[in-house]
């Protein structure tokens, strides 16, 4: 090796070494000078939260929720994904008591399958509920489910699927994030507190008079008020009963009279299936989801035409 090469190489190596040493001092100084104090509780909370970033708590993501808990004293029970164990963990970190809460889950206020809805017409347009909702005459009922499955599309947890035109919620995976309720153009999905594994739901959204309802649906609520007379938890709002879920006590309430008196099939039980249900349906097959055979994409690139 020629001496000149050795000089050049060692010069270069020396310069790099010098730079590295100088830089490490700069970085070390910056680390101290620009240090941001993060409350260790926020980090701890973050570790307890499931990290689904679903927005079910009302914050943009898990980190924002942690910050809200620690800095603004937000309630520790808002995470629908983590549930009770998560709330307990958060309560331990914050040194507070967990108040009694219930997981909110989606319920569908329409139970009419395609064959039970009347005045249905052929429709060739865009196959989404949002598009069908701005057109009249697809089906007689202007309140009930359209059956194109926007809610199925919106669910990130595979907790809702269409069965003969009505969405059915699978309550085990349902985290209560509310995405389905938000996307439904007819607002027939609401979130209710599940105080037991099975909840009673008024499965109709049609607010018209009984005679009008009968023209468009074979099972719709006619507003006969029988349930309100059978049980105090039902009150009429317009031509539809509403169930007071705040006063709903699973141990004390007996709905059998109301269920008995409902002439239509407007009161249904939903929830996690019991052992008997599983036994009765174990041989059934879950239908495959039907996908459209074309795909149109849209991207964020600017139009340059």
């Amino acid at each position: 090796m020629e001496p000149i090469t050795i000089v050049v190489v060692s010069l270069a190596a020396g310069t790099m070494l010098l730079l590295a040493v100088a830089m490490s001092f700069v970085l070390g100084w910056a680390n101290n000078a620009f240090h941001v104090e993060v409350d260790p509780k926020i980090v701890q909370c973050n570790e307890v939260l499931p990290g689904a970033n679903c927005g079910g708590c009302g914050y943009v993501g898990c980190n924002e929720y942690s910050e809200a808990i620690v800095l603004n004293g937000e309630s520790v029970t808002k995470c629908p994904v983590g549930g009770a164990s998560c709330a307990e963990g958060l309560a331990q970190i914050m040194g507070v008591e967990v108040e009694q809460t219930w997981p909110f889950k989606a319920v569908v206020h329409c139970a009419a399958t395609f064959s039970q809805r009347l005045l249905r017409n052929t429709y060739h347009g865009e196959q989404t509920c949002a598009a069908a909702n701005v057109i009249s005459g697809i089906q007689g009922c202007t309140y009930g489910c359209l059956g194109f499955g926007d809610c199925v599309e919106a669910c990130n947890f595979s907790a809702i699927f269409m069965k003969e035109g009505v969405p059915e919620v699978v309550y085990d995976p349902c985290t209560g994030c509310g995405a389905c309720a938000e996307v439904c153009p007819r607002n027939i999905i609401t979130m209710v507190p599940f105080k037991t594994s099975e909840m009673l739901v008024i499965a109709c959204s049609n607010n018209d008079f009984g005679a009008e309802v009968k023209k468009v649906c074979t099972i719709g609520c006619t507003g006969c008020k029988a349930c309100t007379k059978a049980n105090d938890l039902f009150t009429m709002e317009g031509n539809l009963p509403v169930l007071n879920y705040d006063a709903y006590d699973p141990d004390a309430v007996d709905f059998s009279l109301a269920l008995d008196r409902c002439k239509m099939e407007s009161l249904v039980w939903v929830g996690v299936p019991t052992a008997e249900h599983i036994e009765a349906t174990k041989d059934m097959e879950v239908p495959d989801k039907i996908e459209a055979d074309f795909k149109t994409t849209v991207d964020d690139t600017e139009w340059r035409g």
Partner: protein
């Protein structure tokens, strides 16, 4: 083309747009027939853009023909009147073709009714002066227009007295009367201009007085030579100018008609009054004349019942609140291969599911298409051919907006001015891939968050 805001004539056309088959010949020569008084009419309490009316009378009240049955305190609203003498019944609800679920007052016909030619004569007959109208003040005309429940009869049903409320910062110098009727099949305005041009001229002059416009122009598409001739004859000796414009869809859109007839350009997101113009339909002008000179409310309108799915296409003078079925029955019913009934024209109308629906003030036509005409189009990928861009009369990029709407990407859709779309349907008509562009854009406009 001069785009100066003070320009008074235009080139007679606008850039872009389409030429769908006109199919006007089906009902063009059919003289307006009067619908026999129905046994019952259902007066929808929301027939216009704006606040809904409240029913005035208790059930089982006797009302005369022309009596007000619903009104509202709100400014952007128009009262509704009974077209027949009869007895009111309990308020029911009806679903209008646009999907709105609204309350309606049913009125059962009782006693003597004005029928047939006598009714036609009562509405359009008699003297319609074009001079001496100075004795009606602008305020009087505005109040009478509101009392008569007049709304835009072109289809959107915007309350006319709201258009008459002048904004001092934006003076109006021109009243443009829209006699284009660019939708295929429809002939309601065409026949009205041919058979009753005089009230239209009087109404134009009265409306111009209400808004303080000096220039009055009636624009008519050149595929209606009879209407142009009739209007010219009626306008002789009056300051109203008849301006023929080229036949093109959507010439009847105000943002297309104003550049074509006057040479002024309405800014995106703006209104005609930004360039000193108010646009009104010919039927509305006629209704204004009747309201001021005769003191009669808007209770009847001309409806074109046409299409190859109708046995004998006709133009019918019908009371508001009669059902679609009754009008179709007068036109001898549907053909065996009738497949789809559309309320309004085929381009912007709404498919109708239930024929037992009452017509409203905004119903300009009923078009029935046959099996062969409504065959399903299979959607394929967008090939970026740009046909929709070539035809969009508002210079938008429909494919981008529609696909952004399908992906629920509202920011992107709004960046492409989704809200400026007037849903004329040119893009869907032109799309070779069969993408329901205008439906996707409509969906987007309905579901995108406001603000």
């Amino acid at each position: 083309m001069s785009a100066s805001p003070l320009s008074t004539t235009g080139p007679g056309t606008f850039p872009r747009g389409i030429h769908p088959p006109e199919a006007k010949e089906l009902s063009a020569s059919g003289k307006i027939e009067v619908l026999p008084t129905p046994k019952e009419v259902k007066i929808a309490l929301l027939q216009h853009t704006g606040a809904p009316c409240e029913a005035i009378h208790k059930p089982r009240t006797e009302v005369e023909a022309g009596a007000m049955v619903g009104s509202s305190e709100a400014f952007v609203s128009a009262p509704v009147h009974s077209p027949i003498a009869g007895k009111t019944a309990k308020t029911c609800s009806v679903t209008l073709p646009n999907g709105r679920h609204v309350p309606a007052v049913p009125i059962k016909a009782t006693g003597e009714q004005l029928e047939g030619d006598a009714l036609f004569e009562e509405i359009f007959g008699g003297e319609w002066p074009t001079s001496g109208l100075e004795r009606y003040s602008a305020d009087e005309i505005r109040t009478a227009t509101r009392e008569a429940g007049i709304v835009g009869l072109g289809g959107a049903a915007f309350p006319t007295h709201v258009k008459f409320a002048v904004n001092p910062e934006k003076p109006i110098d021109t009243l443009l009367i829209n006699g284009c009727e660019c939708e295929p099949y429809l002939n309601a305005d065409n026949r009205l201009m041919i058979e009753a041009p005089m009230p239209m001229i009087s109404g134009t002059m009265l409306a111009a007085r209400a808004i303080g416009a000096e220039q009055m122009v009636i624009a008519i598409e050149d595929n209606k030579p009879e209407a142009i001739a009739a209007a010219r004859k009626a306008a002789e000796g009056s300051p109203v100018r008849i301006q023929p414009v080229k036949t093109k869809y959507p010439m009847g859109g105000e943002k297309q008609l104003i550049p074509a007839a006057l040479g002024r350009i309405v800014p995106t997101g703006g209104l005609p009054l930004d360039v000193g113009v108010v646009v009104m339909n010919v039927g509305t002008a006629t209704a204004v004349a009747r309201a001021i000179l005769r003191g009669k409310p808007l209770t009847h309108r001309v409806v074109s019942v046409s299409g190859r799915g109708i046995v004998s296409p006709k133009n019918i003078l019908a009371p508001v609140g009669a059902t679609y079925q009754e009008l179709i029955d007068l036109a001898d019913g549907l053909t065996p291969d009738a497949a789809r009934v559309i309320a309004g024209g085929p381009m912007m109308g709404f498919a109708l599911g239930e024929l037992d629906t009452p017509i409203t003030k905004g119903t300009s036509g009923i078009v029935v298409l046959t099996e062969a005409e409504v065959r399903e189009r299979n959607e394929t990928n967008c090939v970026r051919c740009g046909h929709c861009v070539d035809v969009c009369p508002l210079h938008l990029v429909p494919t981008r907006i529609a696909l952004a709407s399908r992906a629920r990407n509202w920011d992107l859709a709004k960046r492409y001015h989704m809200m400026a779309c007037m849903e004329c349907g040119c893009c869907s008509y032109a799309c070779p891939a069969g993408i329901p562009l205008v439906q996707l854009i409509r969906t987007g406009k309905a579901s995108a968050p406001r603000a």
